[in-house]
Every structure is written in structure tokens, then in C-alpha cells.
């Protein structure tokens, strides 16, 4: 009975309705949980550890850590003003910009990879100009960060935008009346009040960047220690028959993602 207690009081979902809720819920949870359990059970912990403790795994771990940290920093730096703009200002074409920002979430990563190549690749639109400046993005770690930023930043911008919209304008006005400038108000009122949204958005962006595969392998290629992030190493290990190596990195990815999404839940509640 406790299971079905809702804020509106007990027994809101009852009778046939209860079956309609519990059946699909059980099915979906099993469907999501079962493959994860299979992944965790496949390799004994000892093998898991020795597979992780190889040069290629450690390189992939460290590269993933570095690139996702950079991606997150860039997202917060560039995404916060973008979100604020989209939340507070009204201007012509804003609705269109909202959709553009959301686009990378719905576009398949392989498409993102091709788009990045056609824009920043050597033969891309900006390629010749970048070449003149001596910037060579192909097969570089910078390309990995760009791929991650492209697919992952919308999660932060979306969440931050919603957070800023939810901040009571009256409080901001009061703060201005009390003599805080717009930066002071933003820093002391707006950001603290929107903080749960900012943090959960940042966590989602980081997790998405960590899992990025398609755009990375297309735009940045695959080289150990330079562009081979964890998801790429999982795939390559699988390809070369090193199932244990693949599973070891996959388990790390799953556990980290689980922790991140749990923390996000704690913060946003």
C-alpha cells in the first residue's frame, strides 16, 4: 500500500488503475535494469581490475576526464550567458534560437560529426581560414572537446534557462532597489536561486560528454592518448575481441553515470 501513496493521499491510484501503473513500470525498469546487471555480472572483479590497469584503459580514463572537464568549463562559461539571454530577453527570432540550442539533443551524433567536419574540417567551410591561422583541428584533442561541447552543452543551457525563468523577478527588483548592481544581483540572487537547475544541467552535460562516441570518432578520429576517449576504447576493445577490456571501461562508465544521476536527483529535490 505504501508504494502507492501519493501527495494527494492514499488510494488515489487504486483498483484497475494500479495494475495499469505497476505493469508498464515494472516492465520498463526490468528492461533498463537487466542489461546493466548483465554488464556488471559479466566479468569477475579481479579481471575487471587488471583490464582497467592497462595503458590503453588508463589513457582513455585520463583523456575522458580531461576533455569532459574542459567541456564542462566551456559549457558553464558560454552557456550561462546564453541561458540568461534566452530566459530574460525578448527579441526577434528568440523562439528560433531556442530550437537551435536544443537541436544537438535530437540530432544523431553521427550527423553532428559530419556537420562538424563540414564546418571545421580541413575541407570544411572554415578549414582554409583555420589553416591560414595555423590551427589544425583534425585528429586533435581539441576536436574531441568540440564534439563533446556540441552534443552536450544544450543540456546545461536548457536546464539553466528553466532555472533563470523560475527566479522571482520581484526578488531581483528588490535587490536592485537595495543598491546591488545587475552583476551583484545576478551573483547574489539569480544564481543562488537557480543553482539546483544549474548544477543538474551541468551534471547532465558532463555525463553526456563522457558518453559521447559518434561525433568524436567521426570528427576527431581514434588514437590512444590523443582522441581515444572511454566510449571509443570500449568500442575498439570490443572490435579487437578484448571483451574484458571493453566491459571494464563500460562498468566504470555505468557506475559514474549512475552516481551522477543520483546526485542530480538529490540536488533537484
Amino acid at each position: 500500500m505504501r508504494l502507492f501513496r501519493s501527495p494527494a493521499g492514499p488510494g488515489v491510484i487504486a483498483g484497475a488503475g494500479r495494475v495499469l501503473v505497476i505493469l508498464p513500470a515494472t516492465a520498463l525498469l526490468l528492461f533498463i535494469g537487466f542489461p546493466l546487471v548483465a554488464l556488471l555480472l559479466h566479468t569477475p572483479p579481479g579481471t575487471l581490475w587488471s583490464s582497467l590497469n592497462t595503458q590503453s584503459s588508463l589513457d582513455a580514463l585520463s583523456l575522458s576526464l580531461q576533455t569532459t572537464t574542459l567541456t564542462l568549463a566551456l559549457t558553464i562559461l558560454l552557456g550561462t550567458p546564453t541561458a540568461y539571454l534566452l530566459a530574460r530577453r525578448r527579441f526577434w527570432g528568440k523562439r528560433f534560437l531556442d530550437s537551435v540550442v536544443d537541436l544537438p539533443i535530437v540530432v544523431p551524433p553521427a550527423v553532428a560529426g559530419v556537420a562538424l567536419l563540414l564546418a571545421f574540417g580541413r575541407e570544411g567551410l572554415l578549414g582554409p581560414s583555420l589553416d591560414t591561422l595555423g590551427i589544425h583541428l583534425s585528429f586533435s584533442t581539441a576536436a574531441v572537446v568540440m564534439a563533446q561541447l556540441f552534443v552536450a552543452c544544450p543540456f546545461y543551457v536548457r536546464s539553466a534557462r528553466a532555472g533563470f525563468i523560475g527566479v522571482d523577478r520581484a526578488l531581483e527588483d528588490a535587490s536592485s532597489t537595495l543598491g546591488y548592481g545587475s552583476w551583484g544581483t545576478f551573483r547574489r540572487i539569480t544564481v543562488p536561486l537557480a543553482l539546483p537547475s544549474l548544477i543538474s544541467g551541468a551534471a547532465l552535460t558532463w555525463a553526456r560528454a563522457l558518453g559521447e562516441f559518434g561525433a568524436t570518432i567521426m570528427f576527431a578520429g581514434n588514437l590512444m592518448g590523443v582522441t581515444q576517449t572511454m566510449p571509443l576504447a570500449v568500442y575498439l576493445n570490443l572490435e579487437t575481441g578484448n571483451l574484458d577490456g571493453a566491459v571494464a571501461l563500460a562498468v566504470v562508465l555505468v557506475l559514474v553515470s549512475l552516481v551522477v544521476s543520483f546526485v542530480v536527483r538529490l540536488i533537484s529535490e
Binding site: 494500479r18 495494475v19 505497476i22 505493469l23 515494472t26 516492465a27 526490468l30 528492461f31 537487466f34 567536419l117 574540417g121 580541413r122 575541407e123 583534425s138 585528429f139 570518432i217 576527431a220 578520429g221 581514434n222 588514437l223 590512444m224 590523443v226 582522441t227 568500442y235 575498439l236 570490443l238 572490435e239 579487437t240 575481441g241 571483451l243
Partner: protein
């Protein structure tokens, strides 16, 4: 009573849903049973030739042949994980040997075709490469398939053979190694990176320079002294649903009609 019934119902439905993937598999295998359906796992380099052969084979046998093209190593991994296949065609003997060792194939594999390597460059040749020795020059962006992929292994063997020749200078292998900017997952990805102009050079099979790729790349031949001949074995898989049809497909590949298609795509037909 009612509650208990409900919970039992829940578990039954949950169980059914867990078995759902199995149901899907059996449904998928069911249609066209009377004429026969075939799943062929084949090396990525066979994509064009086998697609043509498959269409002709299906027309002659009223069968339905589906292909799964990929790096031979990927295919072996998929087979080992129980992926349903009737025929396996590998781009090298090593992967077929692994498949045999893991008891994944039923018949003894036979070599049906051979392939050789070629260096490709983007049409505008951004790194000004005019000879194989230029591939060891500092700053050349070279893309190979990963060492676990047959073509990646052959390419490294070819560079090792060149390095044994004085004409390539000292430390050629190390210089080439330092130029590798990406290790791609299969030969088609290497061809794509070069076609798109991202890489200065790549090593692929001659058969991967398809008409559409040929319009975007230049070729540098690798002399027989250094070139690696890839031998492609083909075999019926252990858990084939229709071994008779699988054998028929292999026979068709080896028939004059099949050989003609393979030769037209640049493969070497072993005598």
C-alpha cells in the same frame, strides 16, 4: 485474492517482456522460410561485391539474403556473442582461425578471393606525397585501420617490409608510426577520412577505391615486394539455420558468375 492475482499477473507479464527479444528473433527468422533466408557476415571490403552477388543469388534461388558488413574482428566478436549468421566471410585467415577455435564455424573454410593494399591520398594531395617514402616524412597525417582490423595489420606489415629496404632510410617504421593520427574501426572509415580530405594518406584495399571513392582520391601503388596479399576465407557458421542454403551461397560465390563480380570489383581470383 484479487491483489494476489494482480501480482501474479505482474510477474507473468514481466517475464513475457523479458522474453520479448527472443520472440522477436524467432519472428524475424520465420518469414520466407519456404524459399529460405540467409544472413551473411562479411568483411567490410566485400560490401559492394557481395551486395551484387547477393541480389543475383536471391533472384536465382528466390531466397532472402541479408548482409552484416563490418571489420572481420567485430564480426567474430558478434558471432561469439551468438549473433545469428549462416555464412562468415573474413578478410584474413587470423580471424577465421579464431572463429574456428571458438567452434563458431561448421565447414572447413576455403579461400575464395584475394586483395591487395594501396595507398590513397586526397585529390589535392595536401601533404605533397609522391612516393611511399614520403609517408615517413614528419607532419604527414596518416590514417590506418586499428591493428586488430585485418587491413590495419596488413598495412603495418607492409610498412615493416618497406623499412627493411634501405631506400626508405633509417627509422622509417618509427617515422611512419609517429605519423598515424587515427586508428579507424574498419577500412571504409579509413577511405572516408581520406576522401573527406581530413587525412593526408591512408592504406586501404584496392577494392575499396570504388568508383565514388576514386573521384575523390589519388592512388599510390605498393610494389609486390612490400604489398601484403589478403586472403579471404569463407565458411558456413555452426549455428546456421539453413546450412544447405549457406553452402549453396558459398558455391555461388565460387562459381564463374560470382568470380566475375568479385574480379570486376578489383579482387584477385586465386587460381
Amino acid at each position: 485474492m484479487a491483489t494476489r492475482f494482480r501480482y501474479e499477473f505482474v510477474s507473468v507479464v514481466a517475464l513475457v517482456l523479458m522474453l520479448f527479444p527472443l520472440t522477436v528473433t524467432s519472428i524475424r527468422a520465420a518469414p520466407a522460410r519456404d524459399h529460405g533466408s540467409l544472413t551473411v557476415f562479411a568483411a567490410a571490403s566485400l560490401t559492394e561485391a557481395f551486395t551484387t552477388i547477393g541480389a543475383a543469388f536471391d533472384k536465382a534461388n528466390k531466397s532472402t539474403t541479408r548482409f552484416n558488413f563490418g571489420g572481420s574482428d567485430t564480426l567474430v566478436t558478434q558471432l561469439a556473442q551468438g549473433a545469428p549468421a549462416d555464412v562468415f566471410a573474413s578478410a584474413n585467415q587470423a580471424q577465421m582461425t579464431i572463429a574456428a577455435r571458438e567452434h563458431l564455424i561448421a565447414s572447413s573454410p576455403s579461400i575464395f578471393v584475394q586483395n591487395r593494399l594501396v595507398v590513397i591520398l586526397p585529390r589535392n594531395n595536401p601533404a605533397h606525397i609522391h612516393s611511399l617514402a614520403d609517408l615517413g616524412r614528419s607532419g604527414v597525417k596518416l590514417v590506418l585501420a586499428a591493428p586488430g582490423v585485418p587491413v590495419g595489420k596488413y598495412a603495418r606489415a607492409a610498412f615493416a617490409a618497406m623499412a627493411r629496404n634501405r631506400a626508405f632510410g633509417t627509422g622509417f617504421l618509427a617515422r611512419v608510426q609517429a605519423n598515424i593520427k587515427s586508428e579507424e574501426t574498419d577500412v571504409k572509415a579509413v577511405a572516408a577520412k581520406v576522401s573527406l580530405g581530413e587525412a593526408d594518406a591512408g592504406v586501404v584495399y584496392l577494392t575499396d577505391v570504388t568508383p565514388s571513392v576514386a573521384t575523390r582520391v589519388l592512388k599510390i601503388e605498393i610494389p609486390p615486394a612490400f604489398n601484403q596479399i589478403a586472403s579471404y576465407p569463407i565458411a558456413v557458421t555452426k549455428n546456421s539455420q539453413d546450412p544447405a542454403l549457406a553452402r549453396k551461397f558459398i558455391a555461388y560465390v565460387r562459381s564463374p558468375a560470382g568470380k566475375a563480380v568479385l574480379a570486376a570489383h578489383g579482387f584477385i581470383i586465386p587460381s
